[in-house]
Symmetry: C2
Subunit: 524 residues, 2 copies
């Protein structure tokens, strides 16, 4: 494995050395990485800008070949990749194998999208020379890439939202070169994937600079990348604080640029009375699993459960208590995340209006950075009194809010900030009676779910993984699924252009055979 | 005409009185308006938020009826509206009649878009219960409105980008209530249109608060509206300074919100050697007209002409000089805009590297706020030395940049900031030889034009009126044409939802008969 910073096709040694920690042992890992310099960031961005001139003009089919080749190279890494990720994240092998499958599948999915080609939203309005009072000119529009993207690797998805995760994949698919700022918690996983990307790029003779990766265990390199004039968009998945710091930097540039940050979400789950009454045990089982999956380190982790006091609630609580108690302790991603969970959950639980329902009792004291899942309870009236209860506690923590009646439940829902997801657990026939609740949830969130946990995100065309602030910085985009390409593109229209010099997507004879809105009619 | 502030269906008297100025006479107009208060802004936004709860759930067909009704009411205002606009803007009647037609047409165009219904981008991926390792859930996505919009009226389009211009029309079409901050230069025009909107809303029993309008000749009300927690998006057309001030306010909110501002653009026009040589007179005529149309007060005014020194250039310059000299002086929109033009153009022209090619010599000294068109020349090498030459001089001003050769022309193009438009005047056969220039122009701008002036914007599906910063704050959106609705919407997906409770757009039987991406296939 090559641990040096990669700028285009060149490995280049950086400065200060650092090692990642194996969270399960609490000890430093062997592989030594070097923090890149501000000069490296400058070089990588300049190379990306120059690569953009060529890469932005490649055909979708060329980029599809590249993405498929990356997928093959990642697959070829085999167990080496899984083992590196296990040692750097403490996540179990099946979870990481699933994540690798997702990472590879989304590369193939984007390749298919590019081959099909209609994603460019081609719209054509042809000329009407004899229109009165003025002739109508010929105008043809499609989406084009906006420029070099800086992608910050996420700690909680060392593959699917890291070096060649959803953000990088969508950016490369759109025609934007990518410079990755690797997450310092999993540099070996990052380096392996980076090598796979380099191989694929070299194999298909892509312009140098379509991909670079820089390491840093501090903030210097990330800041230099965001502030660099060649950077045209930034993506980030992480904390509200981290995301907003990037937004501020991006806004203070001479040329402000968009930052798509996916940040804090507590993913409320409303347990409707019918469901609570008819299947409290099943609900408890579903949410015990959802709250504790991957040590609660999913952005869609259900941090809030909402119910009206009534039949089934006590049985649900008892089953939830029992379920949580039986969960083993788990290794958190990093010592920092583990410490932060301890601090935040303790702050919450120490509040006198909160009472603990149950917590894991099985501590694995052979491993470091262990976390015990906990679920607690608060009265709706108390919840409404203090904004702090709406803060995300990243990890296996969930707060059950008990409302006196429907009116109070509605008040709680209406008090919530923007969310990635909002869920309703309901009997089939009762949902229609809670239209006001479900309408409010759809106003709040990017994805509304009936009778399923919010954890687990399908990667397809219809998925929306986004939501109003603070779930993301711009709820008008998704960061999962094929629509996530829209973050990286902008429309350009060509007016009265020379027919032979139009992009193929806009030519009269539709050589790519894509769907287009042609004089107000969708057709191929 | 009712001159009071309108909050929902109630007229409410504000504070400090002000009168608009007739720019042609320089004298105050009779109608007295009252600046709204911060409390008025709060009331209007709260009412908009409460209207959003209902209006966001109306069908597209309901909103189409509303938009058509607004168009009818605006048309019914007849000459009264044109006369008010003439007295407040100094623009001639034919120009304003054309603008009214555009305003009304875009309301009808949006109504048609809503009736057709496919604009919501419905995407459906149905369940696959037996998929391994995990079942695939049913997910269905569509666009929904994001919330109350604050629309700032633009000075240069008293109808088409003001009270019920493109921004308001797109917002209302999407399902977002609108609170207009009227431009203080044309309050009577604004008040007349506001009355038309109120009539249409009342006629169709729309929820109170879908539309409000507030007046202010200062910044207090605008600031209060942008900072109000109920505001979810802001649109603005005007100066870079004004737009960026709004962005700053919007970013500093507890919940940052998007500001779509269309700001500075100098719309470069490249005159290729073949065109210059074969038709210098025609080019000069086209650009004399384009530069001086509506006193140069179009956002697409061609502020830069670029040419390589060679055959035809001198003849072009001579014809341009003659053409400009023959242009009558014109009344500018406001005394402020007039003064600013004088100051900025003087600053530019006083620079020793700039020489005047020609200026209007026909001053109408019976009218106030007159402006004389001017075109000047600079060597490319000098232009590249100072950023100030790239600043927008709002008015009938254009700078001809003369490059020594193609390489220098390319340098100039590559040095430019983001633009709304970029134009090439070329002979049919030469364009292919300047691929590098045209590729660069498409990277720079939202619309590239062959052989036509940038002034004059088609309002249709294919148009893009937007572009990289500083042309707009977000080049991923357009502010003209049907796609401009995308600024006001965000995706929501419903997962495993109750079939009967899905929005009609996402129901299995496609009751609205719209185009949808259904399991990866576009169909009705």
């Amino acid at each position: 494995m090559e641990t040096r910073n990669l700028i285009g096709y060149q490995y280049t040694k950086g400065g200060k050395a650092f090692n990642a920690t194996n969270p399960a042992t609490g000890k430093p890992l062997e592989a030594e990485f070097n923090a890149a310099s501000v000069e490296d960031a400058d070089k990588a961005m300049k190379l990306a800008a120059s690569a953009f001139e060529v890469y932005s003009l490649t055909s979708g089919k060329t980029r599809a070949v590249f993405l498929r080749s990356i997928a093959e190279e990642i697959t070829a890494l085999g167990d080496t990749l899984i083992e590196a990720a296990m040692s750097e994240t403490g996540l179990p092998a099946p979870r990481l194998q699933g994540e690798r499958a997702r990472t590879v599948n989304q590369l193939y999915m984007y390749a298919d999208l590019l081959d099909e080609g209609s994603w460019v939203e081609a719209i054509i309005d042809t000329a009407i020379p004899d229109r009165k009072p003025l002739p109508r000119v010929d105008i043809r529009k499609m989406m084009v890439p906006i420029g070099p993207a800086v992608v910050f690797g996420a700690s909680n998805f060392p593959m699917a939202y890291s070096v060649m995760g959803g953000d990088s994949c969508a950016a490369l698919a759109s025609g934007c070169p990518v410079v990755v700022k690797a997450h310092p918690a999993h540099p070996s996983t990052s380096a392996l994937v980076a090598e796979a990307v380099k191989k694929a790029a070299e194999k298909h003779y892509l312009t140098e600079g379509v991909f670079s990766i820089l390491y840093d265990d501090g903030y210097t390199v990330g800041e230099a990348l965001v502030k660099h004039p060649a950077t045209k968009i930034v993506t980030f998945t992480g904390s509200l604080k981290g995301g907003m710091a990037l937004v501020k930097m991006a806004q203070e540039r001479d040329e402000p640029i968009p930052v798509f940050a996916e940040m804090g979400s507590i993913n409320p789950v409303v347990l409707l009375p019918g469901a609570l009454q008819s299947r409290p045990q099943e609900l408890a089982k579903t949410y015990t699993d959802s709250i504790t999956m991957s040590a609660g380190q999913f952005c869609t982790n259900p941090g809030l459960l909402l119910a009206i006091n009534g039949p089934g609630l006590e049985e649900f609580k008892a089953a939830l208590k029992q379920g949580i108690e039986e969960v083993n302790s788990a290794t958190m991603l990093t010592p920092g995340i583990c410490a932060n969970f301890g601090k935040l959950s303790e702050q919450m639980l120490s509040d006198k209006v909160i009472s603990v329902i149950g917590h894991s009792e099985k501590l694995n004291d052979e491993n470091a950075n262990q976390v015990l899942a906990v679920v607690a309870e608060i009265k709706a009236a108390d919840f409404l009194e203090d904004e702090k209860f709406k803060e995300e506690v990243f990890g296996p923590y969930s707060l059950l809010i008990v409302a006196d009646d429907l009116k109070q439940l509605q008040q709680v829902v209406d008090s919530l900030h923007g969310q990635l997801t909002a869920t309703v657990m309901a009997e089939k026939d009762e949902l229609v009676n809670y239209r006001s609740i479900t309408d409010s949830l759809a106003k709040l969130a990017g994805r509304v779910i009936l009778n399923g946990p919010p954890t687990g995100v399908e990667v397809n065309n219809a998925i929306n993984h986004g939501g109003p602030f603070p779930a993301t910085t711009d709820g008008r985009f998704t960061s999962v699924g094929t629509s996530s390409i829209k973050r990286f593109v902008r429309p350009v229209c060509w007016q009265n252009w020379h027919p032979d010099l139009l992009p193929d997507e806009l030519k009269d004879n539709n050589p790519l055979n894509i769907w287009r809105l042609n004089n107000n009619e969708w057709k191929k």
